[in-house]
């Protein structure tokens, strides 16, 4: 029997970005808040101190900051005809573990989704007609609009000290920014990062090709910054070790550099690390969460009662926990009934490697130092002639020039030996990559459920992912990759290589840690797990955060939208739920 602990007002499961935001919002409102984190405590000093943190072998290759598959992983299959097998080594995506979650090892690529992205189905039907949506595609509206989220996008950017330049300031299109973005109420808190030579070449080439390049929004600080909580950040040193690493210089926005100095000082907030939540408990009615069961590092089981339970772990973990806890009806792809696990989506990425004449010094980089075009993202262009839905941004990111994994070589270069060495010497400083970062729509055959065979370290069934790319995404990707190729040619390189995604989705090579869906939000309880405030339809004192609520995935990195949704939910909890605990939307 688990030991029953004294109750708290709010229980946060997982302690990354969404939990840090909610912890601060709800503790500030006077509630007794407890966060349970399965990993360890870590902070800038000593855990991310230089030069130990700049260890590519330890972090990027050996995955020290990531979830350990030996403890928990998923099983995977491309379709229902296959038997899913466990992912024994992380590949396609890298969920984090430890305080700050993946918010510690992200790059800081901080986007807002487009206004139309939040009305995906309505918008497509209005512009192209319902027939434009292919059979099997299950896209839907989010139930929340860009206009409603705008103040929350803004709050998250000011929390993070995001560096960028507005493209649409209250409806006015500006010359330097992204002209396709939704209107923003004010400019970014910090100016764009210093440009790398690569981004300048991209900018020039993209203009020549007739596109509209702009500095990509970066949650890497371009100058010293103090955020609205009073938390201080130093300016980025362009060390080139953002992705897969913690930041040594207080320059990448993470829970540690933006919220925790204030939150951890609050007497009504507490954090327990090395505590792995295995179940959310419901009362007998099944309509009320009573708390959670967790296992600590000594293997002891505890029951933590709480009035309000918020799932704030990684997207896939939140869905896994709902599945393990039996909360909601599991989606059945045969009958199309049930909502839990439905509408899993991902990201469709491709790229063009360019080998240029110029010496680009790629090692002077930052995780979100990039130049991008948004001309072919979302519905920023007429899809009518193309017959697909969705899009991608094309960007040249100068994230760094690390020795082991970060280099491009022309096609046909041998993989070892003196020819490889020579090619490396010729190309290390003179190459870059254009990335095409595309949307993935949701489909009735892409979903999450519990695996019938394999179990995790706690003896619980692993979650099973069934997913493959569809024709719509392949055509989108081919189209936008061809646009990237136009930019590559305009860079007048010595040569370039197009890396189109071929064959079925593979879980082995890294693509992005942008897993979405499985507990999606919406206006209709028959097609969504949570309502527009991220509140569970069946269990009103249970909220679910993170990208698992995305009904399908847009052509952007998700963190900006995840942060905005979290502030949006926090406001609803503070101003409405606490006054009258119960459903915020009638089912």
């Amino acid at each position: 029997m688990p030991t029953k602990l004294p109750p708290v007002d709010v229980l946060l499961v997982g302690f990354g970005w969404t939990a840090a935001i909610l912890g601060e919002e709800l503790a500030q409102a006077g509630l007794e808040v407890l966060a349970l984190e399965r990993g360890q405590f870590r902070d800038t000093v000593p855990d991310f101190a230089m030069p130990q943190i700049q260890d590519e072998l330890r972090y990027a290759v050996r995955h020290e900051m990531f979830q350990e598959p030996a403890r928990q992983t998923i099983t995977f299959r491309n379709n229902h005809a296959q038997t899913a097998l466990p992912m024994r080594r992380l590949g396609s995506f890298n969920p984090g573990t430890g305080v700050g979650g993946a918010g510690v090892h992200w790059n800081g690529q901080h986007w807002r989704f487009l206004p139309n992205d939040f009305r995906q189905r309505s918008h497509v039907e209005e512009r192209y007609g319902a027939d434009f949506i292919p059979e099997g595609m299950t896209i839907q509206d989010w139930g929340v609009t860009y206009e409603e989220l705008e103040p929350h996008f803004d709050r998250f950017e000011y929390l993070c000290g995001t560096s960028g330049v507005a493209g649409n300031l209250n409806g006015e299109i500006t010359a330097q920014g992204n002209p396709f973005e939704g209107p923003r109420s004010r400019d970014y808190p910090n100016p764009p990062l210093e440009r790398s030579l690569g981004t300048l070449l991209f900018d020039k080439a993209a203009r020549e090709a007739g596109f509209h390049p702009f500095p990509a929004p970066a949650s890497n600080t371009s100058r010293p910054y103090r955020n609205p909580l009073g938390v201080q950040m130093g300016k980025c040193t362009y060390c080139g070790y953002c992705e897969w690493f913690g930041c040594a210089n207080y320059s990448k926005s993470t829970p540690q550099t933006t919220i925790l100095p204030v939150l951890l000082n609050r007497s009504n907030f507490s954090l327990r690390t090395n505590c792995n939540v295995t179940r959310i408990k419901l009362d007998r009615s099944g309509k009320r969460a009573t708390g959670a069961i967790y296992v600590d590092s000594s293997g002891e089981e505890h029951e933590q009662p709480a009035d309000l339970v918020i799932l704030s772990a990684y997207a896939t973990h939140n869905v896994h926990l709902l599945l393990l806890s039996g909360i909601g009806e599991v989606y059945d792809p045969k009958t199309r009934s049930g909502t839990l696990g439905r509408n899993y989506a991902y990201q469709m990425v491709s790229g063009v490697d360019v080998f240029v004449e110029e010496n680009l010094n790629p090692f002077m980089g930052a995780g979100a130092l990039g130049q991008a075009i948004d001309d072919f993202n979302g519905d920023n262009f007429d899809h009518g002639p193309h017959g697909f839905i969705g899009g991608a941004y094309v960007a040249l990111w100068t994230t760094g020039g690390r020795p082991i994994l970060q280099h491009q070589l022309p096609q046909g270069t041998p993989e070892w030996g003196s020819a490889w060495k020579q090619a490396m010497a010729e190309n290390y400083l003179r190459s870059a990559s254009l990335s095409v970062h595309g949307s993935v729509m949701s489909y009735n055959d892409a979903h999450l459920d519990l695996d019938p065979t394999y179990r995790d370290a706690y003896g619980d069934p692993l979650m099973r992912l069934t997913f493959d790319f569809h024709d719509n995404e392949r055509r989108m990707s081919r189209f936008v990759t061809a646009r990237a190729e136009e930019i590559a040619r305009a860079m007048r390189p010595r040569s370039y290589t197009v890396n189109q995604r071929q064959g079925p989705y593979s879980i082995v090579p890294y693509q992005t840690t942008h897993n979405t869906g499985g507990a999606v939000m919406g206006d209709d309880p028959s097609t969504s797990v949570v309502n527009r405030y991220l509140q569970h339809w069946d269990v009103p004192n249970l909220f679910v955060m993170g990208a698992c609520v995305f009904p399908q995935n847009a052509g952007y990195n998700p963190t900006g939208t995840v942060g905005a949704l979290t502030y949006w939910a926090a406001e609803a909890i503070k101003t409405r739920y606490l006054k009258n605990p119960g459903p915020l939307v009638d089912a």
């Binding site: 009073g230 201080q232 100095p261």
Partner: protein
Amino acid sequence: MRAGLTVLAGAAVLTGTAAGLAQEAGFSDIERGRYLARVGDCVACHTAEGGEPFAGNRPIPTPFGTLYSANITPDRETGIGGWSDAEFERAMTQGMAPGGKRLYPAFPYPFFTKATRDDIRAIKAWLDTLEPVRQEVDPPELPWPLSWRALLAGWNALFFEEGVFTPVPGKSAEWNRGAYLVEGLGHCAACHSPKNLAGAVELDEAFEGGFGEGWFAPDLTGDLREGLGEWSVEDIVEYLKTGSNRFSSAGGPMAEVVERSTQHLTREDLRAMAVYLEDLPAAEEVAEPGDVRDLDELLMAEGEALFVDNCTGCHLMSGEGQEGVFPALAGSSVLQQEEPHSAIQIVLGGAEKPSTEAKPTPLAMPALGWKLDDDEVAALLTYLRNAFGNSASPVEHSTVTDVRSIIEEREGTAALASE
């Protein structure tokens, strides 16, 4: 605190009795005592690592041996629960505990004696409200004859002058309030002044900087390089209120002082302290900016290379730091102290700015002692003490070795304590 007062005042009106009014006066005294205990930073010495606040038994290292701080919670047997107000006052102003037991002057009664008797009684009134904690205190670890407390009578005769602070005529009320706090309960000079062989403050060199806990507490006089000559009153207030200003960040023992004590003081009191400190004359001849010293060129070149490799990410190539985040090395008084011990401490062991309400991030510098040897630290600091217009004596290898052993001892003790 203000909200609490309002509520209580309301209660007194409701009851409308003499008892109610008396209680209100008592409450004000207690609140004042709590504030004054912050000024004195009592909690710092009287709390052991991981122990209950004010229950004492924290080891206090002195050049003569280790002492253990008293339990000042109102526990009758192990704390000061049995002490009368007069006995408490005697301890604070004369260094004498009940029964005539003399206290070692590591307890700063030579400063506390300057506090008004009203203020001392307020502190006692507040201490009386604490939860009594039973905590025995270890006896001092001092060699004979220092273990013989009667000797302290002689110490007192030579170095101690009892008596409350008397305002200096001709100085403003603000200056006098500042002097009262700095010289009295604040006991700033206990660290920031040189001490004689008997551990007493050298009065004629007060505030010129001094050793404490292996750090060198900087000069607070008007000296332009080592002291506060460049700092305005507002700079001092910002430093004490928030833990950093445009010149410097608090680190080492001062970080604790800011976190537990000065950030909680009113802006008026901090301003008064700053006005008084600003008026302290520079110790000797003020060093001319740009003093050129005879320095080994090779050593300076090595130091510069180490600086570029290890420091410029935060402090920038110009040594200007990043305003509001990382302190400047150019013009840094910590770097240019006559004694380089604090700078060595920071390089070897790292440092952390206090987390204050105004600036909550405990911005930290990582320790570099694991990768720089004593020669390298000496070269680096000799360079930093003489780059960007700074000027100070070269750092000796042996000084780095000494500080390293102090840190190792401290960390060894901490490791033992956490086991």
